[in-house]
Symmetry: C2
Subunit: 168 residues, 2 copies
């Protein structure tokens, strides 16, 4: 185990997540009555930014639970485009992010507990850990970029930089 303190788990809110992107949730959104009154449109919940030379891509991620305790031993970012995750089942899940530019600033590492009715949209270039489920399996709808230009940067931590998530 690392000597670093466990990473606390915070509630996911728009205010807390603002440095990293959008929380995709209906709370506080613009709502329109559509379809002759048979639907509500919870409008425009994420700032999708795909960048030049790419196109918007819709995918499904089938994510599996990682062994516990969860070791945060790397972060990744997508420099060219945003990446949105929305859960396709209502279980809570976890979101780990950090500030930083060329390298993540590990003093800013944070872990958020997302409810099963909350998604996130990482802004372009935001350092994050891959999708973390609490359930054995959880699927997500993804909106991100397809294109030929490299759009994945990974940084693996030194052994003494690894943090473990303080799940209860």
């Amino acid at each position: 185990m690392s000597g670093r303190p466990p990473l606390p788990v915070e509630p996911l809110t728009k205010a807390a997540f603002a440095p990293f992107g959008d929380v995709i949730e209906i709370e506080g959104c613009e709502t329109r009555v559509i379809n002759q009154g048979f639907a509500l449109r919870r409008h425009d919940l994420a700032h999708v930014a795909i960048g030049e030379g790419g196109r918007t891509c819709v995918s499904i991620f089938e994510a599996r639970r990682r062994p516990r305790p969860i070791a945060i031993d790397m972060l990744e970012k997508h420099p060219l485009a945003s990446q949105a995750f929305y859960p396709l089942s209502r279980e809570d899940w976890l979101v780990v992010v950090a500030e930083g530019g060329d390298k993540p600033d590990l003093t800013t590492l944070r872990c958020f507990l997302a409810r099963g009715d909350q998604g996130v949209n990482y802004a372009p270039g935001v350092w994050h850990f891959p999708v973390l489920t609490i359930a054995d399996r959880q699927d997500f709808l993804i909106v991100d970029r397809e294109g030929s230009a490299p759009n994945l940067v990974e940084r693996f931590f030194a052994a003494d930089e690894i943090r473990f998530v303080a799940e209860n």
Copy 2:
């Protein structure tokens, strides 16, 4: 009730839906192992086409069940952009579309039964009925266009053009 025959409900398949857009489903898709083996990426399931002067928009529709029998008494289209629907709960739902240009060709009207793990992405300009649930309420994640240019055309039917869905 209309004198026209009830509209039969067909299974939703990629082949049958090809004239209208994409079926968003994992069957037959490109699959990538990602995230150190802890996730599968079911890649690039919809052709998102937003057009000039707009931007991609992620929203949630909260849809309510319509009274039975379901009267197909209008169709709408979005001439500038595609519109993707993916269900956020696993109940089956219904998709009604027609071919046509300035006006829908009502001789081509079709109703598909979508499984709870199938979404659709209407290609730009495809005539369709608003989202139709079988459950009392079903939510959908939507990927479509935000922009100032008009992007909704509705056509309401004459009384003798109305069709009723042949749900069992």
